[in-house]
Symmetry: C3
Subunit: 253 residues, 3 copies
């Protein structure tokens, strides 16, 4: 029984997301649908969210993600495979982290003709192309049967930190629900000495968890996604610092 | 293994929706529960949402929907069947599109006594009547065992477009999460010539998808629900036009 | 096939909740995950939400709840059992009602070493400790294998109503999504005579359901959670009265 995870920007109240689920269950009655979210709000955040969950799932899982502002244009529909898991969605960058983390992938451009469900609309490919493709994979169809292989899926560039002997310059690449700031500096660059992290001239202590600093104070730590993060104990770091994605952060070694 | 879809206005944070799911799993352990939404906010929008998803599901699916402002009054509790799918919820118009689209239906008034779960509360029929009824159907019980057949389920009137030789006058019947405007004019009335659509004196081109017009500009198109829609490329038509449900739209043939 | 219910404060958009679900499915492929909510916003409300749903589920269900502002400190991780159902989450009071309602419980402190999934982070115990613990229970592991038994799980005090011959003094202990006010006075104290309920000098009639009073008027009734509640017919009592949790309510017998 294959798992199909579902992440969209459809909201739930209109019934669009429910329509996708019906299509999946009609084509692949044995598939188990797991909701990720229906509140995706940008391609960058969507890509980063997928980084957080995709590899936690068993081999054979199909990760379906639809945030698709250019639906109906020449943008391609993708189905891919990497490390035994499948990925289905529009070719607009949402799979950037999957692609950059695992070089051993295969991507295919979905042929709209695979959808035998109905006439394909021009504005609801989630229902008419992506859900059928995910369901076909869930029912055991091979990737190659969905369309021809391609070698150039769209990715966006992830800003790289700049290192010298005394410090690493990075930037905020995501802000989560809790207002925690995720920095593009991997935890593995840290040595055994706890660094100081500087954001907007504030020198932030590095610790293990939020409660290691007083309530209302900022703390840097090795985040659960593998990057250095900045949080506020019992508060929102994003508000405390008044920062957005892209703000510069220095880690002093 | 029957599917039970679940749409409510309960939100999720209080645990009401979770209570319903527990009742279903206790009565019908094999049932597969699929969340539609817990953010329903009006009977009209709820009915339109169901139109979007109900027929995508396999035969035998039970669609449970609860938005029930008159709970505990004499309004009836319904369980119905149409085209091989089941419908359970309050008799207040939420099944309007199901009823109007499929004349071959059967509706029964649920006898509160079918609930063997507990004493039936006067304010939480979702848990005490509707969830048990859906679960009994999921476990193979016949409709007739839930209560006597009725012939007059409540529906609200759906405004009809007015046609003459040169134009069709319609109105907005739904506004979705994206701010797209759904017009009560079925796509099938369109001939081979693309019409012009007029809303608040703006003449809107008819095209295939959003990106066929410049960013920030409105476009009319054959919507995925079977009606003509108006959207803004990369924006919200509802805000651009400042309109609500009921606003008049003209399609020039 | 064990059910795992999942309630968190993670939101859905970041992918944290989806990561938990992946961990569960990897460890316990047969487990059936049921979403409760990902919008928990306080430990008190979370505990009250669990009161509403936990006992509706079949024997063997595992209720996983994570709202964990002191993650990474010395607060314990709990796995418990009461009346045949399991409970997993941080030891911060979220299981208060479970503990107070069922004296025949067992609680164990989860040993972080049970997580064989990965190195345990200091800030995401939902993924690294609680989800693995729930999944191990779902796959048939005994509680005792998760860690040593403890006898003092954290609970918060639930305010008790004060009774005399003529009235009961209580207070609002929860306000739900609909703005209904839940009072800490159990319905079972009511005799056969309908009492009058007084809030902020307003004398509120006691009735069976919302529609028993005119639209826009307040009504008191025996609520579905077993407590007396105050609602507004077609409105929000919380806004009408301008009250918050803790406000005093008198029931005149």
């Amino acid at each position: 029984m294959a798992i199909v995870t579902l992440a969209t920007d459809y909201g739930t109240v209109d019934g669009y997301a429910a329509a996708l689920k019906g299509v999946i269950k009609r084509i692949a009655p044995e598939a188990e649908i797991i909701d990720v979210t229906h509140e995706l709000d940008s391609i960058h955040k969507a890509a980063f969210a997928m980084k957080r969950y995709h590899a936690e799932y068993p081999q054979g899982t199909i990760h379906l993600m639809v945030i698709d502002p250019t639906v109906g244009t020449s943008r391609r529909a993708l189905a891919g495979k990497a490390s035994g898991r499948y990925y289905v969605g529009p070719d607009n960058g949402i799979f950037t982290f999957v692609i950059k983390e695992d070089m051993d992938f295969q991507w295919h451009q979905i042929d709209p003709e695979i959808s035998q469900v109905r006439q394909v609309s021009r504005t609801f490919h989630g229902r008419d192309i992506f859900a059928p493709a995910a369901a076909l994979l869930a029912s055991g169809r091979e990737l190659i049967s969905l369309g021809r292989e391609i070698s150039d899926p769209v990715t966006f560039s992830i800003p790289e930190p700049v290192c010298d002997k005394r410090e690493i310059s990075g930037e905020i690449i995501d802000i989560d629900t809790f207002g925690n700031l995720i920095i593009n500096i991997p935890c593995r660059v840290l040595g055994s000495v706890a660094p100081t992290v500087v954001l907007k001239a504030e020198r932030i202590p590095f610790a293990a968890t939020f409660a290691d600093v007083p309530i209302g104070r900022p703390v840097a730590y090795a985040g659960s996604t593998g990057y250095i993060e900045i949080a506020l104990n019992m508060g929102r770091a994003a508000n405390f610092f008044g920062v957005a994605v892209g703000a510069k952060v220095i880690v002093e070694l």
